[in-house]
């Protein structure tokens, strides 16, 4: 079992053993063959996975040292004391406490072994009682049995490390060099995980790589698309490569639940929460931050779930993911988390708090990073029944100076939305009406890049409209809002610039009565999908915001997810297994033309592979946009070629199928003819086999229904 050993623990152990870690050359430690220190080699994988269920090592055994040495008379008493201490932490196995005795003197040896049911309990026991003072002379030294084993086996002789010849790795960016400039995506359906090319010309996806049971819970692309991360019980792993997906690195973290990459994919945060052995305790939470390339743990955080719960005093409890939010723009410089009355900002050079202390903000409720700059926006709710106003402030990191602050009154809640370049920040403020019975919503718009960060207040025309969704145009200056009442809310578009004045927000358009509850801007801006998911059964409207006109309306019945490809050329809508029926995904062009649909049962995930930012300069991009005709020519001829080829292939295929079928029919006809005589016999000589035309003859049938004799009196004749 690969136990989670933090750097701090290693340091503590080293201290205890009197080793100066800085003097130890870790690379020099060479393990004897066959010993792997509990770190699995990749080949062990298959064996591993099966054996996991069994308790093979001694991971659940701890060794307690520095116990008093007692004669046999006192043995039982000491045992009782130890048992009392350690059974508080977890359930000791039957016969799980063993204190060896010197056979000559009959005295104890000053240490004992304790076996728990689970390694987690053992780990906890070590954490809690290492350094426990029984009395002045006896301070417990507690270690995991496995650790002993491991450190004992370090060879005495120093062997020079082998210098491995440099072998260049695979080109992890190869997918970007696709000749047809296609994009990749990953899907998870049933037990299979597949990476596919989106091939809109062929109107179908092309398989790149498929693997069953690739992940135990979900997969995730790294933010620049270099890696695909999978999550397993033992930890997370990243995969990538030129044409096949090889495992590049694994990150041991037992029972990892959630993972998160830093924006430049240098670091990976993993998170797990563990059931407490004592039901009165809260869950224990373990977070590790790994260096993605080396796989080293850069920093770990452990604690109870309460410590990692976000929100101020009155806030919602429970850990909200991601616990650590990455910020500071490029280079993954800072990450931060919110605690009670503090925001802790760490920097990644040393993985310690900036200035060694957290940012103290009484009652802070929420914060968010600017996507481009090291600026934090934080929200503090009203205090003292409105005596102290709520406020939103912008804080510059690492200086921690407040750039701008805005006080707000009678606020019930705030939500912050950053524009993708960090140019603007929109704060959606829900305020109480005078009676405090209901709320209404307004926006505070910050212009980050302008001098003194001017703030503008935007209120909707109808103040009482509920805000259903808000979204900034990526890299743009516009935003869209869905407001009003379900089932037919309105959608409005605003621009941060007005026609003559760049410093004022202006409304572009309101479209009334749309069945929409979600907004999906194209990553390149300009186009937006107004989507009615869930209750609206998957209504889609493809809207061009430049022209302010609808390009297409469509429906992907029951759609649950929508995702633009990173280039903004295609859109994927999918129905995941939250619904029983209709699972699968559709691929659309940006203007709402359905390209193809792939139904898959038990469909879980659809993710486009992200692309790193373009290397082209803004001028070059403008130039291309201007001369689009010239550039697109090449692609148009290619498109034509492909469609020619496709129709040719299709014709071929049809011809083949037709011919094959005709062979069958011929054979059947022959057999049918052969069997004719016999069939005739079966039908008692009735010849008609082929349905020869029969003539409809009209036959009059007289049917005697009833015969009755009646005596009729002929009286008048008798007369």
């Amino acid at each position: 079992m690969a136990e989670v050993i933090s750097m701090a623990d290693v340091e503590a152990t080293a201290m205890r053993l009197g080793i100066d870690l800085s003097e130890v050359d870790f690379d020099a430690i060479k393990l004897p063959p066959g010993e792997d220190s509990g770190i699995r080699s990749d080949d062990d994988d298959l064996l591993e996975e099966d054996n996991l269920e069994f308790e093979s090592g001694f991971g659940n055994v701890i060794v307690v040292d520095n116990l008093p040495v007692v004669p046999p008379e006192k043995f039982e008493k000491l045992e009782g004391v130890i048992r009392k201490i350690y059974s508080q932490i977890g359930l000791i196995k039957e016969d799980g406490l063993w204190m060896p005795v010197n056979p000559e003197t009959q005295k104890t040896l000053g240490y004992c072994f304790i076996e728990y049911n689970t390694p987690q309990e053992a780990e906890l026991a070590r954490e809690k009682t290492n350094g426990y003072k029984l009395d002045k002379a006896h301070i417990f030294a507690v270690n995991l049995f496995d650790d002993f084993d491991r450190f004992m086996k370090v060879p005495d002789e120093w062997a020079p490390p082998e210098t491995k010849p440099y072998t260049p790795g695979e080109n992890l960016q190869q997918w970007l060099t696709d000749e047809k400039a296609r994009d990749q995506f990953v899907i998870r359906a049933g037990t299979d995980t597949e990476v596919l090319w989106n091939d809109p010309r062929q109107l179908k996806p092309e398989l790149v790589y498929r693997r069953s049971f690739w992940t135990e819970s979900f997969v995730q692309w790294s933010p620049l698309g270099t890696y695909l991360a999978t999550v397993h019980r033992q930890g997370a792993a990243v995969w990538g490569g030129a044409t096949t997906f090889n495992r590049l690195m694994r990150y041991a973290h037992l029972q990892v639940k959630l993972i998160d990459f830093s924006p430049e994919e240098k670091y990976l945060v993993t998170y797990s929460s563990h059931e407490p052995s004592n039901p009165r305790d809260t869950h224990r939470v373990v977070l590790n931050i790994f260096d993605v390339r080396t796989g080293k743990v850069m920093r770990d955080f452990k604690g109870s779930a309460d410590e990692f719960a976000t929100g101020g005093t009155g806030g919602v409890s429970g850990v909200s993911w991601p616990v650590f939010r990455w910020g500071g723009g490029k280079d993954d410089k800072y990450f931060a988390r919110i605690g009670k009355n503090v925001i802790s900002v760490y920097e990644t050079e040393t993985f310690t708090l900036i200035d060694k202390k957290s940012l103290k903000v009484e009652n802070v409720m929420d914060f968010s990073w600017s996507p481009a700059d090291p600026i934090l926006a934080l929200f503090v709710p009203e205090l003292g029944g409105g005596n102290q106003p709520a406020r939103v402030s912008l804080v510059q990191i690492p200086g921690k100076e407040e750039l701008r602050q805005k006080n707000l009154f009678s606020v019930s809640d705030c939500k912050m939305y950053w524009q993708s370049n960090g140019d603007y920040l929109a704060v959606k403020v829900d305020r109480y009406t005078k009676t405090k019975k209901s709320t209404y919503t307004g926006f505070e718009l910050f212009r980050i890049k302008e001098r003194d960060i001017p703030i503008e207040v935007l209120e909707l025309e109808n103040k009482n409209d509920k805000i259903i969704a808000f979204a900034w145009e990526p890299k743009g200056h516009r935003f869209a809002v869905i407001h009003g009442d379900s089932p037919r809310p309105d959608v409005s578009f605003y621009s941060m610039r007005s026609a003559h004045n760049t410093g004022r927000v202006s409304k572009l358009m309101t479209i009334k009565g749309k069945q929409a509850n979600a907004l999906y801007w194209s990553p390149t801006g300009r186009f937006i999908i107004l989507a009615g998911l869930k209750g609206f059964n998957g209504q889609l409207e493809f809207y061009n915001v430049d022209e302010l006109e609808t390009m297409a309306t469509a429906e992907h019945f029951m759609a649950t997810d929508i995702e633009w490809d990173p280039t903004g050329r295609y859109v994927a809508t999918s129905v995941t297994s939250v619904h029983e029926m209709e699972n699968g995904f559709n691929i659309w062009s940006f203007n709402g033309k359905l390209l193809y649909r792939i139904p898959r049962d038990h469909f879980f995930q659809f993710l486009w592979r992200p692309r790193p930012p373009s290397f082209l300069t803004a001028e070059k991009e403008d130039e291309i946009a201007k001369n689009l005709k010239k550039y697109s020519k090449k692609y148009e001829t290619e498109d034509q070629g492909v469609s020619m080829l496709l129709s040719e292939q299709d014709r071929e295929k049809r011809k083949m199928l037709q011919e094959e079928w005709e062979r069958w029919v011929l054979e059947w006809k022959r057999l049918h003819e052969e069997e004719k005589a016999y069939r005739q016999m079966l039908r008692d000589g009735e010849a008609s086999d082929e349905e020869e035309e029969y003539e409809a003859k009209e036959v009059e049938v007289e049917e005697v229904l009833d015969v009755k004799e009646e005596v009729v009196s002929y009286e008048f004749e008798q007369e």
Binding site: F557, M558, E582, R654, L657, W661, R683, E691
Partner: protein
């Protein structure tokens, strides 16, 4: 043309059958009375009263004189088509499921469900020309496959019996000896219960529909898989056009889920596929429950569908149907 809605059953439809001339349509439903209709205008001609349970299947003789029906009341009955009089009742110890008359109408295959420890079985009965001489004796009884047998039909020249059911395997039996001759491949064959089976006019090939959301076309003699038609819903019923290279596939969401979702989610359409290209041609909407039964008129100019909703819908094709280009 506007479909004709035939409302004569009070319970879900189970089976539809045209007679050879295509002027009569026989329908079976979970109510106890098989019904005969004019296939042209949907006028109800009459019913066959006598069963005491759901009627699962029927077949009509070549001369349209005799009708045989199989019912959950543990009997299969022979009827006079014209008068509606019951001619004979084959009694079994478990519900009967499928019935099929052989070429020449002298033999009938009847399957019974597994019931109270009894395994499912296939019975071959002789049908006497004169009903007064009819006996209930079995010529042959085949036992073996696990689970219900949903369909059993005669192979070419009555030499074989083709059966399919819950275990998703299609089997070909020797109709003389009862020996198992051939079995469909587990890999390429159906993955879930086979619900329906429909023969071509000359019995040379047949189409099977399964809850695994596909229909498959097989050679009746060699049991070679020829085509697969993939749909988005469990398949309850299949039929082949005798005129064009079309197959029609019906089904839908499981009846117990119907009320929980949107009508569109159920996929209660009858879907037309091109028989050779395996491509979808179109669909006919209308039922508000899964389609349980489909049948083509022998002239290929109309078809009828029967649904869980209790309706039979009779569709006469518009002229442009016959000019569809694929």
């Amino acid at each position: 043309m506007r479909p004709i809605l035939m409302k004569g059953h009070e319970r879900p439809l189970t089976f539809l059958k045209y007679n050879r001339e295509g002027d009569l349509l026989f329908s079976c439903a979970k109510d106890h009375t098989p019904t005969v209709w004019f296939a042209d205008n949907g006028e109800r001609l009459g019913t066959y009263r006598g069963h005491n349970g759901a009627v699962w299947c029927c077949d009509v003789s070549r001369d349209s004189m005799r009708l045989i029906t199989g019912s959950a009341d543990q009997t299969a009955k022979l009827w006079n088509v014209e008068t509606g009089a019951q001619l004979f009742s084959f009694n079994f110890d478990s519900p009967t499921r499928a019935v099929d008359l052989a070429v020449g109408d002298k033999l009938a295959v009847i399957t019974t469900d597994p019931f109270m420890e009894l395994p499912s079985s296939i019975h071959v009965k002789r049908i006497a020309r004169d009903p007064s001489e009819q006996t209930g004796e079995s010529v042959l009884t085949i036992k073996g496959p696990q689970g219900r047998i949903n369909r059993a039909v005669w192979g070419p020249l009555n030499r074989t019996i083709i059966s399919a059911g819950e275990d998703a395997v299609i089997r070909i039996w020797d109709s003389e000896t009862g020996k198992l001759l051939n079995e469909s491949d587990k890999e390429t064959g159906h993955q879930k219960t086979i619900t329906s089976l429909s023969k071509s006019v000359d019995s040379s090939h047949f189409l099977s529909g399964s809850l695994d959301k596909s229909a498959k076309l097989w050679d009746s003699r060699s049991l070679t898989l020829i085509k697969t038609y993939v749909t988005e819903r469990p398949v309850n019923a299949v039929a082949m056009s005798p005129l064009l290279d079309h197959v029609v596939i019906g089904g839908g969401q499981d009846a117990s889920h119907v009320t929980t979702t949107d009508r569109r989610a159920g996929k209660f359409e009858a879907k037309f596929f091109h028989k050779i290209l395996q491509e979808e041609i179109g669909g006919v909407k209308g039922h508000f429950g899964p389609i349980n039964a489909l049948a083509f008129n022998p002239d290929g100019r109309s078809f009828s569908s029967g649904g869980e909703d209790g309706y039979v819908r009779l569709h006469h094709f518009d002229p442009d149907y016959f000019t569809i280009k694929m």
